[in-house]
Amino acid sequence: MGLYWTLFKTFFKIGVVTFGGGYAMIPMIEEEVVHKNQWINKDRFVDLLAIAQSCPGAFAVNISIFIGYALRKSKGGVIAALGCALPSFIIILLIAMFFHQFEDNRIVAAIFRGIRPAVVALIAVPTFELAKSAKINLTNCWIPIGGGLLIWLLGVNPIYIIIAAGIGGFIYGKFIKPTE
């Protein structure tokens, strides 16, 4: 019982204090999981980051499930995931209830007219940063440009782009690269 509670509490705390999601929370998670509770060592933590990044889904939730599972199998995974997702769930639920009562309020509307262009910029900026970390160059820039245009102009479902990109990468690595 004690460990389940600590697991839940730790990931609940991580869920509460991390803003912006994803990679901003890595140092915080490392502090809690590696140094404070010593659930896994530093080397395994680095492996874990690679796995959590490679699997689909929310990054922090993936990490929580992995650590919960490593400690107490499936039940630990579920408890840790619950702890991680619950703060977001409660906060957003309260905001959603509030927002639907005030969405026609003139002051709220004016505030969001100012915020909306900012949000668009906040989605545009990481596109360029992601391009850098994904090592986009002249030979592979057609992938993001082509995929982006298909979604933007032709309304193609991004899921198909993801599937095609995965298969494409596999075929390239397995059959085309060895012949180059």
């Binding site: 929310a58 977001s88 100012g114 949000v119 992938i143 782009i161 596999f170």
Partner: protein, 191 residues
Amino acid sequence: MIYIQLFITFLEIGIFGFGGGYAMVSLIQSQVVTHHHWMTMGEFTDVIAISQMTPGPVGINSATYCGYTVVHNAGYNGIMAILGSATATFALILPSLILMIFISKMFMKYIHTATVQYIFMGLRPAIVGLLGAAALLLMNAENFSSPKINPWQFYISIFLFLATFIGTKILKINPIRMMFYCALAGLLLLY
């Protein structure tokens, strides 16, 4: 019926959400706005704004918000809408749970193999495209107005967009602080 639709939609988003929150923005936008018309592009932008101002992963935040809004817009309230939130959030987490639990051991062995690396050689650049498309789709009249409808709001919006872009990318201003500046500008200039 609406719950089943919510469940399937967010299950799909959970399965294909490679690359964390950023890829998910594109997937949620495509499913929730373009495909199901559960909310407008403007409403979706507000969801991202709220997700970024509150703690937690963007994916979880938008699933919770969408779940509530969809049931609310369908004419139900209170506990029914909360159930919608829970359905969407649970559906989003479920694939992670199954994948991490059943494959974590196996995946540990395969993560460094050539095959997995090849797949990601294709996936990583594609996710850049996904995010770019999400940004382009958000640049519409609902979020920026237009020179014909309301030139004042349009030019202010363009200015706020550029200010946030330069502010966060080059001057490294905290995004949340930047959003508060823009909220203030909206209140003063766009009331």
